[in-house]
Amino acid sequence: MLEVENLHVALPDRGNKRVFGRPPLIEILKGIDLRVSAGETVGLVGESGSGKSTLARALLRLYPLSAGSIRFEGRDITNLDEHELRPLRARMQIVFQDSQSALNPRLTIGTALAEPFVSYGRASDSREALKLAAGLLEHVGLSASMAARYPHQLSGGQRQRVGIARAIALNPALVVADEIVSGLDVSVQAQVLDLLRRLRAETGMALVLISHDLSVVRALCERVVIMQHGVIVEAGPSETVFNSPQHPYTRKLLRAIPLPEVDPAWIDSVDIDEVAT
């Protein structure tokens, strides 16, 4: 359903302004190949600076590509302009990491959730859109009375549910979830992961779950992709990658996770020296 070939993305380096003209570009993604089948859950793992969040946005054509191609549901979307993309946007959605910034602070939750129905003409009038929005809220386990609230009146976990609700409003074929549980308490994290698992089972949507936490990815994903410095170092079924990791970086990542078991040898199993600054 989603096919990405040799994707390159370069973004302007804002810290390095030139006397004239535009700032120089920094290549963030250096040739990414990725396939996501319909209904599949793919985990995208990497540490900061790996380019995973850039990839999330590039998949949805929110960033300009410098090379490569993206096909979505059999159609080449690499060079579509915003107008041509618009009908496709209903089919591919994203949930952002920072739920505070992803919701308009001065629109009520109800208005924010009614927006997709209004902009795609799925509701005949604003009253119907608001009714659909209330239904969505209940669908993600929130009370319909939340519709009258503003984002800052919700907790982080609740806001993240609203983000998910907005993404699934139009029954997309693909949802990209960018670090949506980082910064949440484990208990809230468990709730949100559970919600994602349920929604996927109900709707059959494909999910690209981006996370720095291998355990989160393992809990939800059938396939996993490990990224480092803008390239994919290892990819495969979760089973294989977790049980017999091939790339040294994957092994290092796995070893670095502290499992809640007392193990005095673990702490010494790392090279303590500074890597590179």
């Binding site: 540490e47 900061s48 308490d185 484990v186 208990s187 809230v188 994290q189 468990a190 709730q191 992961l193 559970d194 720095h212 936490d213 291998l214 355990s215 989160v216 990815v217 393992r218 809990a219 979760s238 977790f242 290092k252 990542l253 796995l254 070893r255 670095a256 996770i257 502290p258 499992l259 809640p260 078991e261 007392v262 193990d263 673990w266 702490i267 010494d268 790392v270 090279d271 303590i272 020296d273 500074e274 890597v275 600054t277």
Partner: protein, 295 residues
């Protein structure tokens, strides 16, 4: 016992309402050990740490209890004397290394100022000591790092610098408030080992605050679990991670996914358990109110 917190009650008074945040917390840290303080956000971890350091927000009030550092109650100590302990005997490692260093000063200034204040060193001596400390945290080019500003260093490097500042005056107690939460997992591994290594070498005691039971299992000698301002249980890590533990500790373990157990279902902390804990907390508040009314 280097740190002994007894029956610490703190409340926040804002807009006429009093909200208890610490409800008779008890905490014991043995000399030369690492004690983990675990709990969810809002459970009171940070309040404990702020109370020890005497940097509680203005709206907070300590209602009762004692914080004994090497046998002396910090709360009963004159402010000037208490401040004298900070930096010299008690140091801190903060959560976010990128914001823990002052952005407008070079690393050198930020490492030497505390040495000149407390250890009475002159500029050259302080610089030599700073280089020594940077080497101790395994930084390869300490000379170069001293010349840098914080924004020119990576998160992991900044945290090494913060750790070296904390250890530089040979304090007897270090409070580490989620020191690896903001870091990548591989960097976290390095930093944890670094803290463990320095702690063993210097014999410093560490109060390690975290929300991650995995980290506790790997680095701490003993652990206390906090919820709604109450310490639910305390004990050596071996015990807590074997079998005998509080239902809340078990609930936290059940909520976190584990890559080695992909098929185990994730359970959020159940509403029933939360209700029960809330009831217990309320009961505690009522008891305290009665005592206060009596007195």
């Amino acid at each position: 016992m280097i740190l002994d917190i007894e029956n610490l009650r703190v409340s926040i008074n804002a807009k006429g309402t009093r909200t208890p945040v610490l409800r008779g917390a008890h905490l014991q840290l043995e000399q030369g050990k690492i004690l983990g303080l675990v709990g969810e956000s809002g459970g009171g971890k940070t309040m404990v740490c702020k109370a020890i350091l005497g940097v509680l927000p203005e709206s907070a009030r300590i209602e009762s209890g004692a914080i004994r550092f090497e046998g002396r109650d910090l709360l009963a100590m004159p402010a000037r004397e208490r401040r004298g302990l900070l930096g010299r005997s008690i140091a801190m490692i903060l959560q976010n290394p990128m914001t823990a260093l002052n952005p407008v000063f070079r690393i050198e200034d930020q490492m030497t100022d505390v040495l000149r204040l407390h250890a009475g060193l002159d500029r050259a001596q302080a610089r030599a000591r700073a280089l020594e400390m940077l080497t101790a945290v395994h930084i390869r080019e300490p000379e170069r790092v001293l010349r840098h500003y914080p924004h020119e260093l990576s998160g992991g490097m900044c945290q090494r610098v913060v750790i070296s500042i904390a250890f530089s005056c040979s304090p007897r107690l270090i409070i580490a408030d989620e020191p690896t939460t903001a870091l990548d997992v591989t960097v976290q591994h390095q930093i944890l080992r670094l803290i463990r290594e320095l702690q063993r070498k210097t014999g410093t005691s560490v109060l390690f605050i975290t929300h991650d039971l995995g980290v506790v299992a790997k680095i701490c000698d003993s652990v206390s679990v906090i919820y709604a301002g109450r310490i639910l249980e305390s004990g050596p890590v071996e015990r807590i991670f074997s079998s005998q533990h509080h239902p809340y500790t078990q609930a936290l373990l059940d909520a976190a996914p584990r890559y080695d157990r992909p098929d185990t279902a994730l359970h959020p902390v159940s509403p029933e358990l939360r209700e029960q804990l809330a009831r217990e907390a309320e009961e505690f508040d009522r008891r305290v109110d009665r005592e206060v009314a009596h007195a």
